[in-house]
């Protein structure tokens, strides 16, 4: 038998039939590489972003005029339920997990995630969970009880109430409960994986207080995931038992309590809000310093305010429930905890401002989205603080004021942060720049569009328009503001089209980026674009918070001038 040499493998592949994992498609299907999985997460999430976006446009089309006839009431309820569910569980969460997957190991100088197979498992569960949820449309019974699925509306007819009442007799709520259970499995796996990766696989010299802030925020988010999701899982399991096994956890006529659902749901739901925004805080904390040519201002404060937000986020859930009739003293407690959580958030905004002050700001695409994030998230913070003022909250909770608040936070905040991240890391992932000019067009369309869409909602709330209504009469004085809002929503839709066009065109003809196109500071830019499978040939040695800056500018390296 001939001695096999390394060169032989090249000849054998020519004669041997390629295995699945060697074909292009098979390689994606079987990969455990964190970068490929990251891209799969991001692409999948964007697909669902389009789905959720179409749903948003249908909602706005229905509400453009009084007595709209675009959707019938049942379809409207399904569409607004699936808009929220899709955007939260199938867009913002996975796209941020995708960034974490791709960027965190590179950023901390690791060769992959700690558990690559668990990582792949998490992705596939997410994909099938997402398909399962959306398949409810094919069956004709999509969830229709809101993304919050309040019991007893989400119960079946039996025991949902006495006498003639209408609850959820179809499979609608089952799709929701089972779908979110699956997505929960994916998120908990992902959360554990991030925690172990970040705590155990950092490059030599990268102490926890030298870790990039995006990794910090991913770490906090991961803890939130593993502590918050069990509450949703419990709530969903109890709901399924009520619906199919004959238990009565949420049924008052049998001694259960509808409020149990709300407590369980919101003790998941409020940490969830921070799960959706903290990684975006992380992205902003990476982008601002690079494009202002300065280190982040107050690293420790940004990192620890993130941790503080994480802890406090478990103590504020009942501020979603000020109208349920809690005793005043309990309401005062939740108003206080909500006030407390606003402090670390304010600290972050001030630190970001200080980062760009006295800098040398380059208004490239990632930066304009990051700056837009600060401007818009501030509004979401201010109207959020207003919602914590309990007597005022009695008036505006469940009105369009709240719809405005969540969209300033989740669109002006998370989505702008996500786009900052995409424009920032796209060159790393693909080796090509996204087109700057189209990015500008997209930014202005989005900024104007979102303010047109969401600012009037403040006023609609003040003018007494409740949320989740499928129609409104002509004489309520809500017509103009609703029309404006619809115009804004379609501008956002146009902006997303511009973005898609930009991605396709840039993948084809984009300008080549090279390994470090932004003259950045962190380790992911110390690899070729896109990085090799093993990330780093030799593991980098880290001596400060900006290892690549140290490497490129050795005479003014951070480790020479500051101690941390």
């Amino acid at each position: 038998m001939a001695i096999r040499t390394i060169g032989d493998s090249a000849t054998t592949t020519m004669v041997r039939r390629r295995t699945l994992s060697e074909t292009y498609l098979g390689q994606w299907l079987t990969t455990t590489d964190h970068k490929q999985i990251g891209i799969m997460y991001i692409v999948t999430a964007f697909f669902f972003f389009m789905v959720g976006g179409m749903e948003a446009l249908l909602i706005r089309a229905q509400l453009a005029r009084p007595d709209g006839h675009v959707l019938d009431p049942q379809a409207y309820n399904e569409i607004f339920t699936m808009h929220g569910t899709t955007m939260i569980f199938l867009f913002v969460m996975p796209v941020l997990v995708g960034f974490g997957n791709y960027i965190v190991p590179l950023m901390i100088g690791a060769r992959d995630m700690a558990f690559p197979r668990l990582n792949a498992f998490g992705y596939w569960v997410l994909l099938f969970g997402g398909i399962f949820l959306q398949a409810s449309f094919i069956v004709g019974q999509p969830p229709d009880g809101g993304w919050f699925q309040y019991a007893p509306l989400s119960e079946t007819g039996v025991g949902c109430g006495l006498h003639a009442v209408q609850c959820t007799t179809g499979l609608n709520a089952d799709f929701w409960a089972l779908g979110t259970l699956m997505l929960g499995v994916s998120s908990i796996g992902g959360g554990l994986n991030f925690i172990v990766t970040i705590l155990k696989l950092r490059a030599p010299g990268m102490s926890i207080n030298r870790m990039p802030l995006f990794s910090w925020m991913t770490l906090v988010t991961s803890f939130l995931l593993i502590f918050a999701l069990p509450s949703l899982t419990a709530a969903s399991v109890l709901l399924i038992l009520d619906r199919h096994v004959g238990t009565h956890f949420y049924q008052y006529s049998f001694g259960g309590d509808p409020l149990l659902w709300q407590h369980l749901f919101w003790s998941f739901g409020h940490p969830e809000v921070y799960i959706l925004i903290l990684p975006a805080f992380g992205i902003i904390s990476e982008v601002l310093p690079v494009f202002a040519r300065k280190p982040i201002f107050g690293y420790t404060f940004i990192a620890w305010s993130g941790v503080a937000i994480g802890f406090l986020s478990f103590t504020v859930w009942a501020h979603h429930m000020f109208a349920v009739g809690l005793p005043p003293i309990a309401q005062a407690f939740f108003a206080t905890s909500t006030t407390l959580i606003a402090i670390p958030t304010a600290v972050k905004i001030f630190n970001w401002l200080a980062t760009i002050f006295l800098g040398k700001i380059s208004l490239k695409a990632p930066m304009i989205f990051a700056l837009g994030f600060i401007g818009m998230f501030l509004i979401g913070g201010l109207n959020g603080a207003a919602l914590a003022v309990v007597p005022f909250d009695y008036q505006v909770t469940d009105s369009y004021f709240v719809v405005s608040h969540i969209h300033y936070v989740l669109f002006g905040g998370s989505v702008f942060g996500i786009f900052a991240g995409i424009f920032y890391w796209f060159p790393k992932m693909t080796g090509k720049f996204l087109n700057e000019r189209w990015a500008q067009v997209q930014f202005w369309l989005m900024l104007i569009g979102m303010n047109l869409a969401f600012f009037p909602m403040h006023l609609l709330g003040l003018l007494g328009m409740p949320r989740r209504i499928y129609t409104f009469p002509d004489n309520m004085g809500w017509n103009e503001m609703n029309l404006l809002s619809t115009i804004g929503a379609f501008m956002i839709g146009l902006a997303v089209m511009v973005f898609l066009f930009n991605v396709i065109a840039s993948l084809k003809n984009g300008q080549l980026a090279g390994s470090d196109p932004w003259d950045a500071f962190t380790l992911e830019w110390d690899t070729p674009s896109p990085p090799k499978k093993y990330n780093f040939l030799t593991l980098p040695i880290v001596r400060s918070r900006r290892p690549l800056y140290d490497k490129k500018y050795p005479e003014i390296a951070d480790w020479k001038t500051v101690t941390h």
């Binding site: 209408q166 009739g325 600290v347 309990v390 007597p391 006023l459």
Partner: protein
Amino acid sequence: MRMPVFRGAKRWTTIVTGVLLSSLLLAACGENSPSILDTAGPVAASESGVFYAILIIATIIFVLVEGALIFAIFRYRDRPSVPTHRQIHGDLRIEAVWTVVPALVLFVVLGFTIRGLFEVANQPAGKTVTVRAVGHQWWWEFYYPEYNITTADSLVVPVGTIVHVDLYSNNVIHSFWVPNLTGKTDVIPGHDNQKWFKADKTGTYEGLCAEFCGLQHANMKFNVVVDTPDKYQTWVTTQQQVALSPAGGSLAAQGADVFKSAGCTACHGIVGVNLKSEDDPAVACDNPAKACLVGPNLTHFGSRTLIAGGVLKNNADQCQPGDLKNCNLAKWLADPQGIKPGNDMVVNVTPDQINKLVAYLESLK
């Protein structure tokens, strides 16, 4: 020195101010709206009183922070003339300042919050009317235990009197909201939630269900009719009577026969026809063995201002025998599922029967 120009900044400023101003101008369009700022009672007044305080604080912060952001973008944009940037990593004193200052502001706001919270929670002593508000899918029923009267879609109260509301639902969660008079309190099965409000001015105020309660959540409305004490007393006295019996042989009397024969009584009750008295709906509806009327009690239907869960006005003047073109009640009887899809009202009546029913129901003042 020439002002540093950032291409986008001017547009940005114009846009932001433009949107703010135009929105405020447009707010003038909402003159028919049940605005929470157009208050007609002490509860709503203390709720929006806090709003103005918060609005002022929030506006100051908004202007300062957005101003700083836009200033920084102008001032420190990468140009040849940009001041040399230094590698500043942080400053503990500044951090302390901007941790403590927002904390102080927020705790001042918290002070407002907690004061307002207890102000709204504590029902003052004084002349009180008690009402039980019952959330059905999808209409409101109001029961006055002192007088043993029941009405639907309209809550009639005297001016300047404290109204104590017991909130009851035997089905899903609803939320009781009258923006001009009071913020929301949820109506939760198994929870005996209470609230109070007081109207300082007579008039009619819009009420809405504010918790998603299923298919027709959008069309679960009511109004609060605030009358002078005299008018209110007259109204109560009228409501306490049994239903009027129409003169024999009249169109209305034929309508009464249709009411009894066409299946209406399965869901609706009229005192003196198929009901003995107007009982507390919560008692019947909380007991699976008892008959809880699925539809509104119609004893004094003709005196009501709204029908069909607040979707339609009860325009009795348009409902002349034989001329029902614009009569909302006739439209409702002809096609309840077209007007409010999914509601419990199922009717199968001929135009002739509708003519009779309208005459009967509108006669029930």
